[in-house]
Symmetry: C2
Subunit: 380 residues, 2 copies
């Protein structure tokens, strides 16, 4: 029997690079290879500008749509070479692309990185643009992880909170022995986004490695309360967010408040870290009390934030009755989880399976998400 392999490619809100996995889904996901690559600086700068600026140069935007596809193609080819695989060994690539706008209230979203270009360049079928269909019929186009979490990470004996701490943090609640309709999932708010930008600005580092800076700082409770008051954290799910709410403007406000209070750079990082920890911990208020009472509950954490030990310690302290493990401990490398999910989304498209839960995205019905561009090697 021919083994079916898929590639998943993720570039998150934090733009910290391109994450790629090669995986099979014959039962529980099996990762054959993991690969990460930075985005070259000029392209990264342009992507960041598109994601943060109101007004853009349309020539540059369209050119970047293709430039990013060329980057993805290089990463795919390097990963295949390293894994000693050929294009024809891969059934399909699931491509998230780089989100430059996600406007759930306006029913519109856009990811850069052309799917048809990537399939033409790699000779592999590409499924991309997973969020648009959901949004066209009233959905938020997010979160997409819950179905993956449900299929592979649910437990019969324990409630599980599948927590991903990327640029934005999101959680999927899977009560013990849950059915599809029991799932609750939403973005809790900022993940690493605020911490990363501030660390970059004050310490010239891309992120607060291990949370060492935050650990040295002192959390400012006044400032924390001020930002915990944000309307988003009170809003009931379904809800999703991104740079629109927790981007430049939020950051400017955050820095201004810190300045007024004369906080040191490490105090600011500590407070930003606590904001992420608190909004994650506080988000449990949206989960059904009866489920939390009837079974023990554990967090299964993934995403770049898992490497921030201080952040993880804070979440554990804030939630003393809740278990805390990383997804690595149950067989899913935390850095690769989202890329892995997109590999599986590509499979789902080809198999005609749903990947969104209208209850969590708010879409009016279930549809097949994604758009398929054919590779040259696969069909002939």
């Amino acid at each position: 029997m021919k083994k079916e392999l898929y590639i998943g490619i993720m570039t998150g809100t934090s733009m910290d690079g391109i994450d790629l996995v090669i995986a099979g889904f014959d039962g529980f996901p099996k990762i054959i290879a993991e690969y990460s690559a930075p985005i070259y600086p000029t392209l990264k700068k342009n992507l960041f500008d598109f994601a943060t600026k109101k007004i853009v140069n349309l020539d540059l935007l369209v050119v970047s749509h293709f430039a990013l596809a060329h980057e993805y193609a290089k990463v795919v080819n390097n990963a295949l070479k390293k894994a000693k695989l050929k294009a024809k060994d891969i059934r399909a690539i699931g491509l998230h692309g780089q989100t430059i706008r996600h406007l759930p209230k306006l029913g519109a979203t856009f990811q850069l990185g052309s799917g048809p270009a990537l399939s033409a360049l790699t000779g592999i079928d590409v499924v991309s643009d997973f969020r648009s269909g959901d949004m066209a019929i009233g959905g938020q186009g997010a979160p997409l992880m819950p179905m993956f979490d449900y299929c592979f990470l649910a437990s019969n004996s324990t409630n599980r909170i599948i927590l991903n701490i990327g640029g934005i943090a999101n959680m999927t609640f899977l009560p013990a022995g849950c059915r599809e309709e029991d799932i609750i999932a939403f973005d809790t708010g900022p993940g690493n986004m605020i911490i990363d930008v501030l660390t970059n600005e004050f310490f010239y580092k891309p992120f607060d490695s291990g949370g060492k800076i935050a650990k040295k700082g002192k959390i400012n409770d006044n400032m924390l309360s001020e930002f915990l008051a944000n309307q988003y954290f009170r809003q009931s799910p379904p809800k999703s967010t991104g740079r629109e709410l927790f981007g430049e403007k939020f950051l400017a406000k955050f820095k201004k408040s810190a300045e007024k209070k004369n906080l040191s750079a490490s105090d600011i990082i500590a407070t930003a870290t606590e904001l992420t920890a608190r909004t994650i911990a506080d988000a449990l208020r949206f989960l059904p009390k009866k489920d939390l009472k009837s079974h023990s509950t554990e967090i299964i954490a993934s995403g770049g934030g898992v490497k921030n030990n201080f952040l993880c310690e804070r979440i554990k302290k804030l939630l003393p009755d809740i278990g805390f493990r990383t997804s690595d401990e149950i067989g899913i490398p935390s850095q690769a989880k989202e890329a892995l999910a997109f590999a599986w989304f590509a499979k789902s498209f080809l198999d005609g399976e749903y990947i969104h839960l209208p209850k969590t995205t708010d879409a009016s019905k279930k549809i097949i998400l994604g758009s398929l561009s054919k590779g040259i090697n696969v069909s002939f």
Copy 2:
């Protein structure tokens, strides 16, 4: 046997509206229904701005990507209703979308009108984004009509020049009894684009109906020579063009030249019309002389320009030895031809067939063009 029906949707450079056909391809194309609809004024204005301005509002762009898909969905639903058909009667929609950038030199193109959104809204499979794959591998992403022309309009006894006069004019040369490798195709230059804008500006009409205005004017030979000197007209095929070369800047130069020469409004329209006629007629210099000598040659014309009698008369006069018929005369309604081709491109994607000719687009190889988004009704 189940009859297979397809929908094709075209919105051209001139943005004169949405053209839709419902057709079958059981042998020669058979059009079941034709439908045209205007784009509502604010959306049309935004599309025009995106196509002509360097700097754009990215929120508005992304929202328009979806707004146009919603417009297409309305047109599809109206057309189905009028034709007494249901979504499930249609195998797929072939969607061109609205080109807002086409940058062959930079290997990038973008069409507005989200395919995944349209499939979600109609419940019909949609194939869209036909040009990106070709461009990613070195092609110009255009022209795409030649394969359609070759499959349905070639003749064994006569050379045929399949001429489409849309915003831009393009021709496909099919020598008598030709094989795929004999085909030559390229954009000749402006079609109705210059004429339409000037007519709108001077006479407050969307186009020069029947060429009546041009007929009253006097062609200015000096001015004509000046613009015929444009490098594009001398360039050998493969070549493709669009608003980038014959848009705002070209128009401004055209008007300035007319002003200097004190031309009347109708003289300007006459001269613009002659520019289109001459560049089409002159383009025959790029066709192999031996073919033109060995068989008689006829033009099969389509596109909005066919309704401009004066323009057609001028082309006939400039090419006294070449026959001239509209595609209507051989069974393809000239207004619907491009939409019809996109319906067929959707079929080609699903059947795994090539639609581009690397010799005419300059792509490095043949690939399957387009990207498939699944409808809800079709797969289940």
